[in-house]
Amino acid sequence: MQQAAKATTDATRFLSDLLKRRVVDASQGRILGRLQDLVADARQALPPIIGLVVAGPNRQRRLLPWSQVREIKGKAILVEAAAGSALGPVVVNPGELLLREQLMDKQIVDTAGAKVVRVNDLKLMQRGGQLLLSGVDVGLRGLMRRVGLQGVTEALLRWVFSYDLGENVIKWHRVQTVGSEHILRLKLSQARLASLHPAELADILEDLDPSTRSRVFHALGKEMAADILEETEPKVQVALIKDLSTAEAGDILEQMSPDEAADVLQSLDQRRAEKLLREMEYEQANTVRCLLDHDEETAGGLMTTAFLALPPQETAGRALQILQKKAPELDVFYYIYVEDEAGKLLGVVNLRELLSADPGATLGALMFTRLVAVDLEADPDDVAELFAKYGFRALPVVDQMGRLHGVIRFKALLAAVAPHLGR
């Protein structure tokens, strides 16, 4: 296998196995130093190794282009006779990766499994004259290889449990690095994270250490950030908001649904919350402010105000048009509420009825008037009972005069009564 190092078939190597090897001048046998790191071009789908960081005598680090490598043989890496003069200063350009320094032992995101893991080793593949980064070893086998006990562990497991220790390698194109900032700016890597569901991303952010967390959060863009913020637990929400500038945080809050935004603001300290509210668009800030007035432990604290309420004389056709236009900013679109001029809740029309109704029919004629609504001060547990009994997707919240104030979504309720299931 060693003889064919720079030729023919794909052979597998691990970074841990290459590191510390002597880099030797092939013709004279002169030792240039020891291999300390590899530089890969991360812009490629399978990043090729483009350089070797060689630690010479007196620990000086120098870069040797990959083109100088002749073969990997025994415990040495043989390089061209003229390699000594090809050594230069270690420069890492944007898009390039120092495998050991920036990846080994660091946290990465496994986008296939949607979780954060630590890199135990890196799997390289020899193809033609190239050495390519093909995968990331996150398994016990990789860990024990690093410790130098791979053989012992394997033998022990086979002997005691008759268990063969398998390889746990994540393919490189499934890996999202989160280590250093310049990597994250790459469009390609961002796309990998963006393929995950916001709820998965929220879980991932919770697993990352705080400094990495805020860096990733930053790189994801406002809309994604808003979606993620809705899914994270309050403690992490506060931490994420804390790291943002007031302007950024304000923008993100605007993207969130009002009830979720209110929840976030509630867990911040008052002064900061006030600042953020002032940063937000006037109308949205007002909506959120109204929601903030309600105790978190009541129906008022759970409701959202992003719903559609129309007068009874409106026709089904018009209602559909309005719904279509407003849909992007609505939290509740399955029910259209009907209210009089005083804001008193008269009835409700659901989307199915609206779609199948004659476009000329008025909402007043279509609406369902046997209403189930909860009081602003109602207890979340009572609200939960109503949801369970009637199987609604959302419940309107009214005051004692019967005026409509907001709507509780099933999701918000779930987070309140069963926090261990939600989020």
């Binding site: 080994m104 032992d105 660091k106 946290q107 979780k115 954060v116 893991v117 630590r118 890199v119 135990n120 996150v138 860990l143 690093r146 410790v147 130098g148 919770e206 697993d207 250490d209 705080p210 400094s211 990495t212 637990e233 403690k235 506060v238 931490a239 804390k242 300290d269 002064r271 261990h420």
Partner: protein, 420 residues
């Protein structure tokens, strides 16, 4: 100055005072909690033995130990606040898998010894109430497991913390015992050390129980977990100092009272009842019950934290899922490690005729042996700009750090050498 900060023009003195208080309360915690767990079964035992066996002769060691405790905890907290990462993660990222692996083995063993000591504490305490170890220990193990996994540990933590007021009993007892205060201050002012295995082992034990290896991981994790950053650091430092001084004051009085009551009468501590004699000046014939209550609380508190901290630390180092919010199938290593620590800790104590007091003591000696290694890595990390940015250690902090490491290593070596 206040006006320029306040464009509205109205001085908001009272409000800003409340705000500051709220801010302090939000930050305070990690240091004080760590310190209170520090006074665990092993701690109480070691301090009691120090007083009973050596009288006031080792009291002076608390002064340097306190200083070192503050400095070391301050380093942990600072590293957590600045880097936003746990100590295990930093060690793994900076020193690689092999070093981390062996360090974790050392830490797990030490923490296991400490956990055994906590269950030994439970056994000793319940023994005073006439409950046998084979009943008390399994009950305690199940209780601890359920408290942390199934119930809300955070709520329970407050109960434990309030129960720590028990230590005040030692302080009152100390005053009631009416020691010769002149002699106490003289003992503090004139440090002396006998170069005997017993004496050196005791000093290593005192250091090990006060500055335990797990504390560095736990404190740093707590600081990171709380989301504290370099900005909050001034308050974090006070949290650490107050906590450390509190530990030492309690230690001071335990040693003092044991010296006055036990050492003076030539009583050797071999059981909890004997250790409880120290509380006689305060509690009279209820001394044993009071002591048992305090020991039980300390043991259970630490028995919750130690296995948990161990599981978190190891999972962090190896990149395994580590959260009580995850199900077993999502974080198997975490739950297995946590459960194994409790199981093995409890099982070890169930062994018949186990010398409980001796176990509690030697677990602390083991702490003292592992500590220099961990401090060495901490010091290296604190000097790494990749970790600390522009907040790397200054030359003075480094000098002090190295002196501590060398002194502790020499002390441990001397102990081992003399013991052989």
């Amino acid at each position: 100055m206040a006006e320029t900060l306040n464009p509205g023009g109205q001085p908001e003195l009272r409000r800003s005072l409340w705000r500051r208080l709220a801010l302090i309360l939000a930050v305070v915690g990690p240091g004080i909690i760590t310190s209170n767990v520090d006074n665990d079964a092993g701690g109480i035992t070691t301090y009691s033995l120090a007083g009973a066996d050596f009288g006031l002769r080792l009291l002076w060691t608390l002064a340097p130990i306190t200083v070192v405790l503050i400095l070391v905890q301050d380093m942990s907290a600072r590293m957590g606040a600045v880097s936003g990462k746990g100590l295990a993660a930093l060690i793994r990222e900076r020193f690689g898998a092999a070093v981390t692996f062996y360090l974790m083995i050392g830490l797990v063993l030490t923490n296991l010894a400490n956990t055994i000591a906590e269950f030994a504490g439970v056994a000793a305490a319940m023994g005073v109430f006439g409950v046998e170890a084979r009943i008390a220990v399994p009950l305690a193990a199940v209780l601890v497991w359920f408290l942390v996994v199934k119930a809300s540990y955070k709520a329970v933590e407050k109960v434990f913390l309030w129960a720590c007021l028990f230590y005040v009993a030692y302080i009152i007892s100390g005053f009631l015992a009416g020691p010769d205060w002149g002699g106490v201050w003289l003992a503090m002012a004139r440090p002396s050390l006998e170069w005997t295995p017993a004496s050196l082992t005791m000093v290593v034990g005192l250091v090990g129980t006060t500055i335990a290896p797990w504390m560095q991981f736990y404190l740093q994790a707590a600081v990171v977990d709380k989301g504290l950053t370099a900005k909050d650091y001034r308050i974090v430092r006070w949290d650490v100092i107050v906590g450390s001084v509190a530990v030492s004051v309690v230690a001071f009085f335990i040693i003092l009272v044991c010296a006055v009551t036990l050492n003076a009468q030539g009583i050797k501590i071999e059981s909890a009842e004997q250790a409880a004699i120290a509380l006689k000046p305060l509690a009279g014939r209820y001394a044993a019950a009071l002591f048992a209550f305090g020991l039980l609380n300390a043991s259970l508190f630490a028995a919750c934290i130690l296995p948990l901290s161990t599981a978190y630390t190891v999972c962090e180092a190896f990149g395994w899922e580590d959260s009580l919010n995850r199900k077993f199938t999502e974080a198997p290593q975490f739950y297995i490690l946590y459960s194994l620590m409790i199981l093995m800790g409890a099982l070890a104590v169930m062994w018949p005729d186990l010398p409980l007091i001796a176990i509690m003591y030697f677990s602390q000696v083991l702490n003292g042996l592992v500590l220099p290694a961990i401090l060495y890595f901490m010091l290296r990390l604190l000097n790494d700009p990749m970790v600390m940015g522009d907040q790397v250690n200054g030359p003075l902090a480094n000098l002090v750090g190295w002196v501590i490491i060398v002194a502790l290593s020499l002390l441990s070596l001397a102990m081992v050498y003399l013991s052989i």
